[in-house]
Amino acid sequence: MSHATLTDKRPGSLRGATLPKWFPWAVAAGSIALGIGISAAAGLRSSIQWGLIAAVLFVLGTYGIAGRVEGRRQAKDRVVTSLVWVAFLLAVIPLASLVYETVKRGVKVLDGYFLTHSMGVVADKDPGGGIYHAILGTLQQVGIATVIAVPIGVLTAIYLVEYGRGKLAKAVTFFVDVMTGIPSIVAGLFVLSTWILILGMGASGFAGALALTILMLPVVVRSTEEMLKLVPNELREASLALGVPKWRTILKVVVPTSIGGITTGVMLAIARITGETAPLLMLVWVTDFINANPFSDAQGSLPVYIYLQYSAGGEAAYDRAWAAALTLIAFIMILNLAARGIARWKAPKTGR
């Protein structure tokens, strides 16, 4: 193709027709109205159906109108943008409705009394009682798992990234991969067969914490590894070239540079294990009483509590289950916010 034909194809001016800013909103409103209309006419009653029809209309409408007015390239751009928006909404709707539903049903019995009392003297079908024993158990079990898994996981990741060469590193990576895929019930069975059946220990919060550790470890290793890999090699070399030993370089330069990301990873790992139910049912059993000693006897925990209340049935139990679920979500949400805060606070500083 010669230059002449190329320039011929270009429009004479750099300015093209543009649709106004409110165009996407207008199309969205129009397609929703049309979607509802079509569904009403066709007698569809599910809101999912009319939502999908509206989404399809939105994408098609955007392409049609923009293609007419602005040209094909802009139309494609708008379609991709609108597809991203549709995908985003599809992802957000279940999440938002889940939070909405939990808050709506959860606040009914969630109060100071509920958070500070156990179920010790309350029958499942009666109102009253609380989740203190479950909060205590969850905090202790997750706390123990974190205390074990974070140092081991972070050190493993440091080994893999900073020192690991050859067979041992490959083997460790392989086992971490395998561990990532372990279903929680299998982790529970593993602890059951070793800790309880072979070593003869009883059910306890600690046994549950061991299973949680197994689930948490690979997540911590993986996320820490990724964060350490992001640290530019130049920083390591700069430190080594100053005559700083390798271990100090890692401790004072590499880890501080990535501490924000590592913290976020740890928090996400904690969030992941906080909702585990199966291994706890198997290893910690259940109790309605406060047991502050994680090393002996059954303990409560939030996920197991929710499960038990829901299976007990009855209005009072349902209310308690929802309130406990809300507490659990709030706990994880707070952890995530804390992680973000720490990540921002510790992030490498810029600006003057």
């Binding site: 060469r165 530019p232 130049e234 920083l235 390591r236 070399e237 700069a238 430190s239 080594l240 070239a241 100053l242 005559g243 700083v244 030993p245 100090r248 370089t249 004072k252 330069v253 501080p256 540079t257 490498p348 500083k349 810029t350 600006g351 003057r352």
Partner: protein, 258 residues
């Protein structure tokens, strides 16, 4: 404090790839030596063998002898960490530690290595920043992050960081290649001042720079891609640029190739 460097029969490998072969040279104390040569001929590799940074690269391996004063850097029982305290390095791209302030960057080598009193550290930081011609620009923002400085300031910060630990030798790998002419000039002036205290080795692609700052110049070349780089000749800078004894050097300097 500056010491003489004597290299003899030095080979450096990346895995099984021989990057530089049979290099021998002497570098006098308190001089500036420039390394020039086409890209890929092994200037950086050779430079990094002078403070045992080459072996930090996976697969990096060195044969031969590098004498610093009367000690062989590759002799038995030599601790690479102590070598690097004697032979400092400034890299091509400025690389201040992003989590540290200007002050902590300069003090990093000392702080990470031992215990210094705050007043001692203050002195050393001020002296090093003045030595790197940066003090006036940063004295009001010592506690601000080092990555908030301009590129040229960051590079001078890295020089301050390197001279704060009082090495014998300062290696610089294209220290000005990311900088504007004014910052480059500032660093060239700085090199002139630093050579009164340190032995300086600088890699550069800029002939004028080599001519301006160095006392002696070494020209490296490689026969072909995949062949090891070699030292072609080394002489007084003036001679290399006016009347080199090898044809390849003249061709390279006059821009006939490379």
């Amino acid at each position: 404090m500056a010491k003489r460097i004597d290299v003899s029969g030095l080979n450096a490998y990346y895995g099984s790839f021989l990057a530089i072969e049979d290099i021998s040279m002497s570098i006098e104390p308190r001089t500036v030596t420039a390394f020039i040569g086409p890209s890929g001929c092994g200037k950086s590799t050779f430079l990094r063998t002078l403070n045992r940074m080459h072996e930090v690269t996976p697969g990096g391996r060195v044969e031969g002898k590098v004498m610093l004063g009367d000690e062989n850097l590759y002799g038995a029982g030599i601790d690479p960490v102590s070598v690097r305290r004697e032979v400092g390095m400034v890299f091509q791209r400025p690389n201040p530690f992003p989590t540290m302030s200007v002050y902590d960057n300069v003090a990093a080598g000392l702080k990470l290595n031992g215990n210094f009193k705050k007043s001692e550290l203050d002195d050393i930081v001020e002296r090093s920043l003045k030595g790197a011609n940066l003090w006036n620009e940063v004295k009001d923002r010592l506690n601000k992050p080092g990555s908030g400085l301009s590129g040229g300031q960051q590079q001078r910060l890295c020089i301050a960081r390197a001279i704060a630990v009082e090495p014998n030798v300062l290696l610089m790998d294209e220290p000005c290649s990311a900088l504007d002419p004014i910052s480059t000039l500032a660093i060239e002036d700085l090199i002139g001042e630093l050579k009164e205290r340190f032995t300086i080795v600088i890699v550069t692609h800029n002939m004028q720079q080599a001519a301006r700052v160095s006392d002696r110049t070494a020209f490296f070349n490689l026969a072909a891609v995949g062949q090891p780089g070699k030292l072609i000749e080394m002489d007084e800078t003036e001679r290399i640029f006016s009347n080199p004894s090898v044809q390849a050097t003249e061709d390279y300097i006059s821009g006939r190739f490379g």
